[in-house]
């Protein structure tokens, strides 16, 4: 599949916590780190505020990959939002996996505000992995 999609540029959506991953993205930018431009970042106040509905909306609308970026365990600005996010993602990915709906397209990653480098590397990895997966089956399906 990967070979057929050489020119495939995935549409990636990121839900990034205001207190960590969003700042890491800024840091990656200000330090001029290079990473693919496929990601469309959305700043949220906490990874714990990302209801599965937003992730599913993006997935079903045809996003090829969705990544949720939160604070490292123990570092949540609101004490426990990232732990709750992890549970929601565990539920969501279980459901997607059970129903055969491409659960590999949803990533959860902890990236602190200081980790600009990790942000750039993650975006590179993410883009690469989703390129390997190919376009989402939801992309062209009008009856979703």
């Amino acid at each position: 599949m990967a070979d057929d999609n050489k020119d495939f540029e995935p549409i990636l959506v990121g839900f990034f916590c205001n207190w960590c991953t969003s700042t890491a993205a800024d840091l990656a930018g200000t330090t001029r780190l290079q990473y693919p431009p496929n990601i469309r970042p959305i700043r949220t106040m906490c990874s714990g505020s990302v209801d599965p509905i937003y992730i599913l909306r993006a997935l079903l609308s045809g996003a090829d990959g969705i990544i949720i970026g939160g604070c490292n365990p123990g570092d949540c600005h609101y004490v426990s939002g990232n732990y709750k996010a992890r549970r929601r993602i565990a539920g969501l990915k279980t459901i997607l996996d059970t129903l055969g709906l491409e659960n590999d397209r949803v990533w959860l990653k902890w990236i602190s505000a200081a980790e600009g480098q990790k942000f750039a590397v993650t975006m590179r990895d993410f883009t690469e992995k989703i390129k390997e997966l190919g376009p989402s089956p939801f992309r062209k399906n009008w009856s979703v």
Partner: protein, 374 residues
Amino acid sequence: MPRNAMLEVKGGDITGTVRGFLEKLLEKKAVDALLVPVEVPSKKNVVQTMVTDIAQLADVSPLAPVMPVNTAKIISSVTKVAASTKKVGVILRSCELRALVEMVKLKQADMNNIVTIGIDCFGTYSVTDYAVFSQEHDTPAGEYLKKAASGTDTLLRPACKICQYPYPLTADMTIGLFGLPIEKEILVHSGTKEGDQVFEALGLDGEADPAKRDEALSALKSERQKLKEEFLAQVQQEAGGLDNMLSVLSACVACHNCRIACPICYCRECLLDSPTFVEWEAEKYLDWASRKGALRLPADSLLFHLVRMNHMGASCVACGLCEDACPNSIAVYKLFCLAGSRVQETFEYTPGRSADDELPLTAFKEEEFKGFEK
């Protein structure tokens, strides 16, 4: 300390025996009111009814195989604004009781002064099947119990055929039927202090041997577990993958009846009915359509079901009323039973097992679910 007593069944009239027991509850003032299934005058349905006058128990029919509404929803609407100040005894099937436990955890019902009376359940029919069945028999509940004992009831709803908990898990009192010679006697069991108080008020104690019921239940449990795994494997094969999912949901008209029937979906304003999802300018719809070249309308039916699974799947008690509520007979129960079961396995959570188990989506541990991170 659990207490047990046997009730003698006279003339094979099991419903009459339960009625006698309920009448005593009111007569001895063990409770001030009862919320119990009563047969409507046309006999076509049996509906939950709040009874304060003993005379109104004449048509009570708690064993009739029909569950039009999950009683947890009814208790929620009765107690949500203000808890009951009088004691209300409520008859519940296991799935209703489990849903009630979940609703209490979700802060949608108040158990103050509610005395739960669970009944062993051989399964229920759809409301439409029951309406026909009840016209064909003089004593529909009795007829059904005979069929249930022989294990050949083809009218049972799919959810009931593979039900893992046909017996109440947390009831104050239980009316036990499994494994017993129900033509002659049935069991009353108290599992809590509330139940013990009723035992005392009624002077119920006596010789009772619940061992036979326990034996029958463990046999039934292992049989049902096997049936459920087979069922889920089959659903996974039928519904797995985007094309199959869309095929199962192809008749969905986005009426959201499944959500209304669901005892766990309590949101007064569902996000999926909110303006965010339905009220947009024509231009927006055209924009969405242009992305894929076409757009199915009403939009977002797959999104609706997937989001609902995420929101209530951990607490799904598999009562199957979602499927009964579907005007187009979509196998909603199959999908939700599958997704709910797997989510509950992930969280090692059994909805309705105990009021002390924390809801999976509000609790957390520092070290867990690393496999879901990247």
